[in-house]
Symmetry: C2
Subunit: 439 residues, 2 copies
Amino acid sequence: MSASENIRIGICGLGTVGGGTLELLQSNRDEITARLGKEVVVTHVATRTPKPDLTAEIPATGTDLLALANDPQVDIVVETIGGCELAFDLVAAALKNGKHVVTANKALIAERGNELFAIADEQGVTLAFESSVAAGIPIIKALREGLAANEIDWLAGIINGTGNFIMTEMAEKQRQFADVLKEAQALGYAEADPTFDVEGIDAAHKLTIMASIAFGIPLQFSKTYTEGISHITPEDISYADELGYCIKHLGIAQRSDKGVEMRVHPTLLGKSRLLASVNGVGNAVLVSGNKVGSTMYYGPGAGAEATASAVVADIIDIARQQAAGASQPVYPGLGYRNTRNDLSVLAIEDITAEYYLRIPAVDKVGVMAKISSVLQAQSISIEAVIQKEPTSESVPIVILTHSVVEKNLDQAIAALEALDEVTGKITRIRVEPFHGEAA
Amino acid sequence: MSASENIRIGICGLGTVGGGTLELLQSNRDEITARLGKEVVVTHVATRTPKPDLTAEIPATGTDLLALANDPQVDIVVETIGGCELAFDLVAAALKNGKHVVTANKALIAERGNELFAIADEQGVTLAFESSVAAGIPIIKALREGLAANEIDWLAGIINGTGNFIMTEMAEKQRQFADVLKEAQALGYAEADPTFDVEGIDAAHKLTIMASIAFGIPLQFSKTYTEGISHITPEDISYADELGYCIKHLGIAQRSDKGVEMRVHPTLLGKSRLLASVNGVGNAVLVSGNKVGSTMYYGPGAGAEATASAVVADIIDIARQQAAGASQPVYPGLGYRNTRNDLSVLAIEDITAEYYLRIPAVDKVGVMAKISSVLQAQSISIEAVIQKEPTSESVPIVILTHSVVEKNLDQAIAALEALDEVTGKITRIRVEPFHGEAA
């Protein structure tokens, strides 16, 4: 596209995000034109379910995605169809045709991004994906550009609105997981198949993307440890509260001498932390850089308009680069010109953390002594214990440990569960102390 | 500079920010090179107070700022000398020589930015200033790029760390303003002359800059209403607390049908708001866009390393644009190609707000009725009242009003102060309800 022409957009998919993008480009047209100095026009829409009322003014509409990827009247392809198969073919074809691509598809970037960025690099075009993480919060820009002067030490985020809504409701109203999930589905926050949200897969996609940009490593979704929230009980939330913590479903990425950690799991978090105040469907990411210290980014993590806000920000960014005469993308897709292949991802057994343990035990003299001695055998020291008056023959013993390597804890848990006095499966939740952290 | 060469930096001033920038470029060199694919090298330092230990490796050092602005071995000039006179001449000279400039100088941008951006535009070079607002928090990028698809409706920020430290200490420990100010000076948070911080001038500089980028208007520092925190008492903080509010020193910019509001003043803020949790020297800016909804940006608002983080992010941004072959800056300095000259800035008398009033009054039957009737005469309705048992002959009456145009409130206050029953000056603090706001 030349500097004087309009920016011509092709949108694939007219679902929540595609429809929201089309709507935003129309309703905020004047604002966008004032920022850009030229107009963004949608020249082509491809959708499997035609919506003629939305596309009456669009010059070309159809159901053939690849036809859109080949359309010479399209400069930037917006992919909002989701999934990793057809979306991959579409994005790859568009990039190979020298078109820029904007996608909201976190699964596609996390699972097949390495291949796609290689094609984009070869072609000298941009593959933009701000909307794939935390919707309208500009966290990709923050990590890749705003904090570019820093070594990022770690980041931790509430990056799945559905999961955070469920955890918030469970905490505020002492409700059971299954019960709140049903309500979330009725409210439209959770899909009919809630697996992606509640088992942490959606959060793991987002964390994988953020970790690559933070540390300069290739995308490695398969190495991200992923644990959901379906096993958390109101009882755990209440014990955590008593110990001064709330429980949040966090994605955590951390760099240490041993390697990189990428993990998504329920986490005990001090109640006075800023992240602990993020409730409902809100998202927030706390990022710690070696120079800037900790910064936090908060906002709505889902929704048609919030996601479209980031899709259109990417469009404007590409258009601004073109208008400035750039012949190559200004920003490397994942933020680094020289990707780091020397940083290995740690297996979950090799991480060091503090833990909350809830141990169902019989109410007998000497139980606590036995448990302590098993922990001591693995060099696990205890930071706090809650042992209530028994209301039945079994009574849970709740323990906070000091730092321990997870594989040692695994052995301790196996040994504890083998004790006659322990009457069931032990619940284990990681604790995030954010040592030295103000926020 | 050509695409294959190093990026050559000249730093003017080796105080907190200049020294921090030099240190950061050295200590994070590998990280920066991995992101950029080329090296950033400091080729020239100009400082009135030479520090040979810091500059031993720099090819050129001197005390002549304009020599640096003319040095053909410098691609990007970093201005950290502060002030608006010499800094203006230096930045203008560097821009006219076709050099990009990075500055942390909020006064310079807020007061003389219109002139400087005009020169930068003419020359096709970048004048970058991320570090001038909220130090290392990438709020300029967020407003200008990340949220570029939105009409920004309003923003509100805690943007002076010194002021927020003082307000936090006053609230947490029921201390007097003057007492905490002395401590802040001893801790190095406040300058020997604290006027810029505690009278809101520093915050007004930052708010002026953010408002221009949010709304696409020229910089208009002289039209920003500025009120400091020195008149706030522990008594006010305690009454506010009783009513469910905290008091924060906020910068607020808002766009309405009537025009644009830019104002810096102490503000009552609901205690459950996310901004209310921002304590100590932390900064945070809450931004409401018409599509994305509310997003918040939090982090350290001051300090050598946090500020240098943003200075170097700007350097990396310029270097990335050059490497991509851009012949013009990718981002308009203030975010808009077409500046809006049709939006006028409202005078403080013309804003509509809710108010906290503390009225010193004699303890007599009928006082409250008189006060109410004065308020009613200006169509001011009352939302809440606190009237304590008198401990002396005078007793404060504390009132929260519903929305009213400020000039009507001014008249009501004048009429109230003329009553025999009112024994002194009335304290007035604006209330920010953030109607419809989740965060």
